[in-house]
C-alpha cells in the first residue's frame, strides 16, 4: 500500500547560488568555488569544525543538508528511520584528482578518506545522527524517476520514514546539489512527492 509522501523541504545549490524551497537566499560569484563554500558556511553562521576537513563534495552536501533540515523535527523519528539516497555522475573524482597529486609526495590519509562518493552521506549521517539506510548511485544524469522509485520503495515498505535524497555533484568549479526531504507528514507549504514536483523550480 503506497503511503502519502511529501517534499517537506528542498535545497538547490548551483552557479554559486543557494536556493531554499525555491527562494534565492545567497549568492557569491565574486570568488572561486572553494571560497564560495566557506562563504555559505559563514553567511549562514554554521558552527561545525569538522566542516573544514571535508572535501568539496562533502562540504556541498553537508551545507545543502544543513539548510534542508533546518526545520526537520528529528525527535519525531528514531535514528534508524531516517536515511539517504544520493547520486551523482562524477563519484568522488574531484577529490580523487587531489589525492592522486598527493601520492607523488606524501600520500595523505586525510585526503584518501574522501575518495569515495558515499562519504558525503556519512558526513550527513554523523551530523544528524541518521542511522537508517543510505545508498549512493553513479549515473550520467539526475534520474528523477529512478530516485523516486527508490525512495518510494523505502518509505512504502517502512524501511525508512523520512529520506534525504537527491543529486550532489562536484568536479573542479562545476557543482550541483538538488536535495529533497521526503516525509510522510503533510505540512504547510509542502508538495506531494512526484517527479513533476522534483523537476520543477517551484517554490514550496
Amino acid at each position: 500500500m503506497a503511503a502519502e509522501k511529501y517534499i517537506t523541504s528542498r535545497v538547490t545549490i548551483n552557479h554559486q547560488t543557494v536556493y531554499q524551497n525555491g527562494m534565492d537566499i545567497f549568492t557569491n560569484n565574486a570568488v572561486g568555488f572553494d571560497e564560495f563554500l566557506l562563504s555559505v558556511y559563514q553567511h549562514l553562521h554554521f558552527s561545525y569544525p569538522k566542516f573544514h576537513k571535508m572535501d568539496n563534495l562533502s562540504k556541498l552536501g553537508w551545507l545543502a543538508a544543513e539548510l534542508l533540515l533546518k526545520d526537520f523535527d528529528k525527535n519525531h523519528y528514531h535514528p534508524e528511520q531516517v536515511g539517504t539516497v544520493l547520486m551523482n555522475a562524477n563519484a568522488s573524482l574531484d577529490m580523487d584528482l587531489k589525492y592522486y597529486e598527493s601520492i607523488k609526495d606524501v600520500p595523505s590519509p586525510s585526503l584518501f578518506v574522501y575518495t569515495l562518493p558515499n562519504i558525503v552521506a556519512g558526513e550527513i549521517c554523523i551530523r544528524h545522527h541518521f542511522k537508517g539506510e543510505n545508498a549512493f548511485f553513479v549515473m550520467p544524469d539526475f534520474d528523477t524517476p529512478f530516485l523516486k522509485q527508490q525512495v518510494d520503495y523505502l518509505l512504502d515498505k517502512n524501511i525508512l520514514q523520512a529520506s534525504i535524497c537527491g543529486w550532489i555533484d562536484v568536479l573542479g568549479q562545476d557543482h550541483r546539489a538538488e536535495l529533497f526531504l521526503i516525509e510522510k507528514v503533510k505540512k504547510e507549504n509542502t508538495k506531494v512527492f512526484s517527479i513533476e514536483n522534483m523537476e520543477g523550480n517551484s517554490n514550496l
Binding site: A89, A91, D96, Y99, L116, N118, F130
Partner: protein, 375 residues
C-alpha cells in the same frame, strides 16, 4: 513507475553466478581451489605488498576495454554461459565498484575527456552495450558494501515488479591509487590477514569480480533465494566503525525479520572480517548483539584479500554455494580468538546442511549491510 502485480511479493532466485579471481575463472574453479586451501593472497615483491592480484598476462584481455571493464565482461559472460541465461528486455544490469577505472589517472594524460571516461557510468554503458541490454544500467558505489547493496537493489526491483531478471556484477582492481591510500592508513598487513585472530595486523587488498543473476523464476530445483537485506549507518566516523556494533546489529536483525527467521535459523555467516583491529571487534560485537555468536562463521578475506566493490558479490556467491553444497570453508589465519565478544570461527571444512546464510559487510562512511540467502 507503475508497480506491476502489486499484490505479489515474488521470491528472488539466484539462477547463475560467477567468480573471477586470481584463484579461478569460474565459480567451480574457485570453489575447488578454496576446498584445497588455495589462497590468492601472496607476497608481491614488485610493489612490496601481500595481496591477491591477477597475473594479467594469463587473462584474455580485450584491448578495447580497460582491465576493470574486462573483469566485468568476462564475469558476466561466464555467468550467462554457465547458466544458459538469455538477456531480454526484462533484464536489468547493476554494476558495483568503488574505484572502477581510477588507474587511468596513472596511465593517461588528464583531460576533460578522461574525466568522462573514468566515470563509473561510462564503464556501465560500455558493458551494457557489449551485451546488448535494452535497459539503462545502474551503478552502486557505496564503499565496501557496494556488492551487497547492489544485490539488494536488484532484489527489490524484482520484488516490486520493476524487472523480472537482474544481472548484478561487481569488480575492483588494485591500483597505485588504492594501494597508496590503504598504506597511508597503515591498514595493510605484511602477512596473510588473520580475521578475528588475536594477532591480526590488518588487511590484504585483492582484485576480482563476481556476478549473480537474479530472477523471479527458478531455473533449477536447488536455486537459492535472496530472502532479504538491510542497510544501516553508524553515524559515528567516516573511516572508523561504530564503537558498539549496534548499527550493524540493527541491519542484521532487520534482515532476519524481513526473511521471517530468527537467529536460530541461520546456519552460516560469511563475515566482512577484514582483519583490522576495529572492524573485526565491531563486527563480532554486532554478531553477538544479534544473538548469532554460535553460528559457524568465516571470513574469506584470507583467500581473496579485500576486493572492495567486488567483495560483497564474491563472498555472497560463496555463501550461496555453501547453502547448495552444505559446506562451510575454514577461515584462514585464525588460531586464537582476538575479539572481546567471541564469534564461532570455523577452522576446518564443515559439512552441514544450511537453510539460511547471513552475509555481512561494512564500509567507509559508516555503512553496514546484512543479507540473508535461503534454500
Amino acid at each position: 513507475m507503475i508497480v506491476k502485480n502489486p499484490g505479489l511479493n515474488p521470491d528472488v532466485f539466484i539462477v547463475g553466478d560467477n567468480i573471477l579471481s586470481p584463484i579461478g575463472k569460474t565459480t567451480d574453479e574457485n570453489l575447488s581451489a578454496l576446498k584445497h586451501g588455495i589462497s590468492g593472497v601472496k607476497k608481491n615483491d614488485e610493489i612490496n605488498i601481500v595481496a591477491s592480484l591477477f597475473e594479467w598476462n594469463k587473462i584474455d584481455i580485450d584491448k578495447s576495454y580497460t582491465k576493470f571493464e574486462n573483469l566485468l565482461i568476462l564475469s558476466i559472460t561466464n555467468a550467462i554461459k554457465q547458466s544458459g541465461f538469455n538477456i531480454d528486455d526484462q533484464t536489468a544490469l547493476i554494476i558495483s565498484s568503488t574505484k572502477g577505472n581510477i588507474s587511468l589517472l596513472e596511465t593517461e594524460e588528464h583531460t576533460k575527456d578522461l574525466n568522462k571516461r573514468i566515470a563509473l557510468h561510462s564503464s556501465a554503458k560500455l558493458v551494457t552495450d557489449h551485451f546488448g541490454f535494452k535497459t539503462q544500467p545502474i551503478v552502486v558505489s557505496n564503499a565496501c558494501i557496494s556488492g551487497v547493496l547492489a544485490i539488494l537493489t536488484g532484489m527489490r526491483w524484482i520484488k516490486s515488479g520493476q524487472y523480472e531478471n537482474v544481472i548484478v556484477s561487481g569488480a575492483d582492481v588494485v591500483s597505485e591509487f588504492v594501494l597508496s591510500g590503504f598504506k597511508s592508513f597503515q591498514a595493510l598487513s605484511d602477512t596473510v590477514c588473520r580475521p578475528f585472530d588475536k594477532d591480526r595486523t590488518g588487511l590484504n587488498l585483492g582484485e576480482g569480480a563476481a556476478t549473480v543473476i537474479l530472477s523471479k523464476n527458478k531455473k533449477n530445483e536447488n536455486d537459492v533465494k535472496v530472502s532479504s537485506g538491510a542497510i544501516s549507518n553508524d553515524a559515528n566516523h567516516i573511516s572508523g566503525p561504530s564503537r558498539t556494533g549496534e548499527e550493524l546489529a540493527f541491519a542484521i536483525k532487520k534482515a532476519l525479520l524481513d526473511a521471517g527467521i530468527t537467529a536460530h535459523d541461520v546456519g552460516y555467516i560469511s563475515a566482512h572480517g577484514t582483519a583490522t583491529n576495529y572492524n573485526d571487534e565491531m563486527e563480532a560485537n554486532a554478531i553477538n548483539l544479534a544473538g548469532l555468536q554460535k553460528v559457524p562463521l568465516n571470513s574469506l578475506k584470507g583467500y581473496y584479500g579485500h576486493t572492495l566493490g567486488a567483495a560483497g558479490l564474491i563472498e555472497s556467491v560463496i555463501a550461496i554455494h555453501a547453502i547448495k553444497d552444505g559446506v562451510i570453508l575454514p577461515s584462514p589465519g585464525f588460531t586464537e580468538n582476538g575479539v572481546t565478544h567471541p564469534v564461532n570461527v570455523t577452522t576446518e571444512i564443515l559439512n552441514t546442511p544450511i537453510k539460511h546464510a547471513l552475509k555481512t559487510a561494512s564500509g567507509f562512511g559508516g555503512c553496514n549491510a546484512a543479507m540473508i540467502f535461503s534454500k
